[in-house]
């Protein structure tokens, strides 16, 4: 025995302790590794795996001819994600220098911090991206994102709208069809570590993103470009506040083009409105088309019957109806062609108010057409219960109601196609998985607009309007146009009256007249100084129709000259010549050449200012006001303004820095500063105006 008894006992105790420990350890391991295995490993799985979203490609947008009008491009964005203080400082220092900030500013400006993700700049331009790609700054990274691009720039942008930095639709088509275009994001499972670093993508658990639907619009971008350009020209030429135009395929309801132009719009890249369906206005005479349709539908038309047009003024229920020109006895056709308010009112009163209301409703007025673009207005159509004869007369000539340009174009399309009101729409179809275009919509008829009559006679009347009537300047040698003009006073919403000198000028029609394809409307708000629809919107409509027909040769039609040479439309308008810089004498010659008169501030000298400005459409025989600076006389002299329109007079007074006060409206009858008096900068002129009878 080398060990004592005590030693053996104590060693035995120790050995038992060792055995107990190992037993305890194994028991604990069984508890943790077997009993808790499922729970623990699911927690480990969760904390060590993650999911990254794989963005779906936004659907593309095509025009009706397959032009790509909205596409996606890969762009780079710069972000900061420093993982420690050194990276934070390096990133901050680089950004200070790169963005020309004061030292240390970048960190506070972008709230940079360790392990925090911060965008520095989204959608870098190509030069920036290329420059940054070459550099490696710790903590700064580039992310590649899909970004929207519009190959045609601002053309049709009003329809398309725009997307925000995260590719979410913000206006127009992009907003309205966002859910269709967006698609469904896919995702990938990733392994990550405790420091949130991504290791690898688990291939088996990848859900592919579902690309958004690619949609085909009914809009023809070629036409859209033409319409936008002509509308812009018309607004500029006729001095209008803004203009709107809608063209639809009158056989399908496809919106071929829809546009507005407002010179005061600032951001054409990010339009938020589509005024041609957001705005409503009082249509005026153009509405007689639908009144006439109602008269036809009532079955009371006698083509030979002549209605007394009361020589231009007719008292009805305490109101006086006026015609623009004095007419005597006119047939129904002549009433439309010459646009007699009194004539159409008398016909409408012969039909019942309720029946007229029903016809207007069937033409789609007074409610939204639900064309599939955001912000459509419903217009205004007062229910017939309240209608008196005067109300019937007012509505018949397009007063007291409001329509949108889209409603007007759609109703005109219904006339053109023989009586079907079609729901206007912008989506032609979508591109299916095989890349074929599927037409989703086909001639969606809302209702018949007339039940008892054909509209052939009405269409012939509308052709007559262009051939012989109020819209002779619209007559084209290239394509036959039919339509109707309209000129209505703009309401002064502040004083609840109509402006005496502000108008809405409209032309709505269709072409080719014999076999209509396209119907549309052009509306100019407050054109100056010429405000007749036939002379402002009409020519714009004609130019659009002509250019579109030239693009689509099938639409070309060379109308036979069915009228005598003496009836040939004589152009009563011209454009204001540029007189500034010319001598008074030479200016006089230039003006005579154009057929306009001059009113000058002095008998000789050099022209320094003119109104209307060069290029603006004016009537032949109208007067232009020019300011002439006399040699040896440094001050401006007061012209005789008697008989001038207020706009012309105030334009001059503004130019001469003369303060002025106006009494009354209409034309100038007196002025407090005598003609020929010199104008000092602080002079004040009282101008009295009266409305001419």
């Amino acid at each position: 025995m080398t060990r004592t008894r005590q030693e053996r006992i104590r060693l035995g105790v120790i050995f038992i302790l060792v055995i107990l420990f190992f037993a305890a350890a194994v028991a604990r391991l069984i508890h943790l590794q077997v009993y808790e295995h499922d729970r623990y490993s699911s927690i480990v799985e969760k904390q060590s795996s993650g999911r990254v979203s794989i963005p779906a490609e936004r659907g593309l947008i095509y025009d009706r001819n397959g032009r790509l009008v909205a596409k996606n491009v890969i762009g780079s964005s710069l972000y900061a994600y420093p993982s420690d203080d050194a990276q934070l400082r390096a990133a901050g220092a680089f950004l200070d220098k790169y963005l020309h900030l004061t030292p240390g500013e970048a960190i506070t400006k972008y709230k940079l911090d360790v392990d925090r993700f911060r965008w520095i700049k989204r959608r870098l331009n190509d030069a920036e991206a290329k420059q940054l790609e070459k550099m490696t700054v710790p903590g700064l990274y580039l992310r590649y994102e899909s970004q929207r691009e519009y190959p045609f720039g601002t053309v049709g942008k009003q329809i398309l709208g725009f997307t925000d930095i995260d590719n979410i639709g913000q206006s127009g088509f992009e907003l309205y069809y966002d859910s269709l275009l967006t698609g469904k994001n896919g995702f990938a499972d990733i392994r990550r570590d405790g420091l949130n670093k991504t290791y690898r993508i688990k291939e088996e658990a990848l859900v592919k993103p579902l690309a958004g639907n690619s949609l085909v619009l009914t809009v023809d971008w070629r036409m859209q470009d033409i319409v936008e350009e002509e509308l812009r020209k018309a607004v500029d030429t006729f001095g209008a506040q803004r203009g709107m135009a809608v063209f639809v395929d009158c056989n399908t309801g496809d919106i071929v083009s829809i546009a507005h132009y407002d010179p005061s719009d600032e951001d054409r890249e990010k339009p938020t409105k589509l005024r041609a369906l957001n705005d409503q206005f009082e249509p005026g005479s153009v509405f007689k088309v639908f009144t006439a349709a109602g008269v036809f539908d009532a079955g009371i038309v006698d083509f030979n019957r002549r209605m007394d047009c009361e020589n231009g003024a007719w008292r009805l229920k305490g109101h006086t109806l006026h015609d623009d020109k004095k007419h005597g006895m006119l047939t129904f056709r002549e009433i439309i062609e010459l646009s007699s308010n009194i004539g159409i009112a008398k016909w409408a009163i012969e039909v019942d108010g309720d029946d007229m209301f029903k016809v207007y409703k069937r033409f789609g007025f007074g409610k939204r057409l639900r064309c599939g673009l955001p912000g459509e207005a419903s217009g205004r159509l007062v229910p017939p219960g309240k209608w008196s004869d005067y109300n019937i007369a007012a509505a018949a000539m397009g007063h007291s109601i409001a329509v949108t340009p889209l409603q007007l174009a759609s109703a005109m399309a219904a006339v053109a196609n023989g009586g079907d009101l079609l729901r206007p729409h912008v989506i032609l179809g979508h591109v299916d998985a095989e890349g074929r275009v599927r037409r989703d919509i086909d001639r969606p008829v809302i209702n018949r607009v007339v039940q008892n009559a054909s509209l052939d006679s009405l269409k012939a009347f509308l052709r007559g309007v262009v051939e012989r009537g109020t819209a002779k300047v619209v007559n084209s040698e290239v394509v036959s146009i039919a339509g109707k003009t309209g000129t209505a006073q703009l309401p002064d919403t502040v004083n609840k009256v109509y402006f005496q000198n502000k108008f809405v000028a409209t032309f709505a029609g269709f072409f080719p007249a014999e076999n209509p394809t396209i119907a549309g409307a052009v509306i100019l708000i407050d054109p100056q100084p010429i405000h007749y629809g036939g002379l402002t919107s009409g020519p714009a409509f004609r130019r659009i129709a002509e250019r579109y027909a030239l693009v689509n040769a099938g639409l070309l039609s060379f109308p036979e000259k069915s009228f005598d040479e003496k009836d040939r439309p004589t152009d009563s308008t011209t454009t204001a010549p540029n007189l500034v810089g010319a001598s008074q004498e030479f200016a006089q010659e230039l003006a005579e050449e154009r057929g306009v008169a001059l009113r000058t501030t002095a008998a000789e000298g050099t022209v320094v200012w003119q109104y209307p400005p060069p290029g603006r459409m004016v009537y032949k025989g109208d007067e232009m006001l020019v300011a002439v600076s006399q040699p040896g006389d440094s001050v401006m002299r007061m012209p005789d303004m008697t008989g001038l329109g207020l706009r012309k007079a105030s334009a001059f007074l503004n130019f001469a820095h003369v303060r002025y006060a106006v009494k009354g409206t209409g034309r100038v009858v007196s002025q407090s500063i005598k003609p020929g008096d010199s104008l000092a900068n602080d002079s004040t002129c009282l101008v009295e105006c009266e409305q001419p009878l």
Partner: protein, 373 residues
Amino acid sequence: MGRARVKRLRARVKQRFDEGLLFSYLALLAFGLVMVYSTSSIMAAGRFGSHLYFIRNQAMWAVISLIAMYVIYKLDLRKLAALSVPALFVTLIMLLVVFAMPARNGSHRWLILGPVSIQPSELFKLITIYYLAFSLSNPKRDLTDIKQLLIPYAPLIGTGLGLIILEPNLGMVILITLTVLGMFFLAGMRLKHIVTAAAPLIGVASIVVFAFGYKRDRILSHIDAIIDPLQGSYHVKQSALTLGSGGWLGTGLGEGRQKLFFLPYPHTDFVFSATGEEIGLIGLCVILALFFFILYRGIKIASSQPDKFGFLLAFGITWTLFINIAVNIGVVTVILPVTGLPLPLLSYGGSSLLVSSVAIGILLNLSKRTVTP
């Protein structure tokens, strides 16, 4: 002495070392290298630019450790035992010098000599065992006398423990204290003295913890963590999850997910958990069996020593290995509160590996001359 008796004695005295012990040691050493690589390579690549950074160090230390073990194995430990007294003073000085060294992770544990850094506390642990075996086996020493126990051991070892507390390295203090108490116990100290020494210590500790609230919350929350490890601190929770994730068979070598910066110190203090995730319960049982076998052989070698010196030395070595293993595994399996002790032979760390190897070398040395009872 007759020839026959000498022959009989020779037959009883084993001349060969314990091969089973050496085999277990080598198996654990080799497996430790595998696990150090598995758990450290990604971190090493990220932090030091080479996935081999830690394993290269550890392999170098393994070679040094094998050489040291062989040297120890060859020495005559009995003749050299008297040197343990000056060696103890040298290590005490080293424990002082660490405070002049730069701190790592907030503590002064390392003596940094160029590229090599060693922990004097590990050395102190080993020298203390050697010294106690030498001193307590002196037949003149009466261990039943409390005075002879307090002088000279209390000041000598107390100084060392005090310095280690100041480093601070509480885990090592606990390890050395328990080792010393174990050796006193085996050397024949009276139970009465152990109890009378331990009772006031436990009493004071209880008052400090519960009356003054020092670390009371930590202790109470640890009790919650024992019942549900997920309620524990981040370290504790991740360690339990790592083991649980392994299941019966583990995720496979190298396939552990928790070592990717979820489990802290997967290559040092928590290497046992990281191993458990990759090789599962079955694998861990093999590891535990190897450890158990080493401890079993250690006790066996101790009990068959021809003298008290060998008995105390072999026991002290075995006992300190056991405490070390038990504390580490107790911590990572969420039985004991977290104390920073590495797992012998498996954890990354040169000092730990070297000291453990020297310990095994001592056991192998002593196994050369055992007497079968």
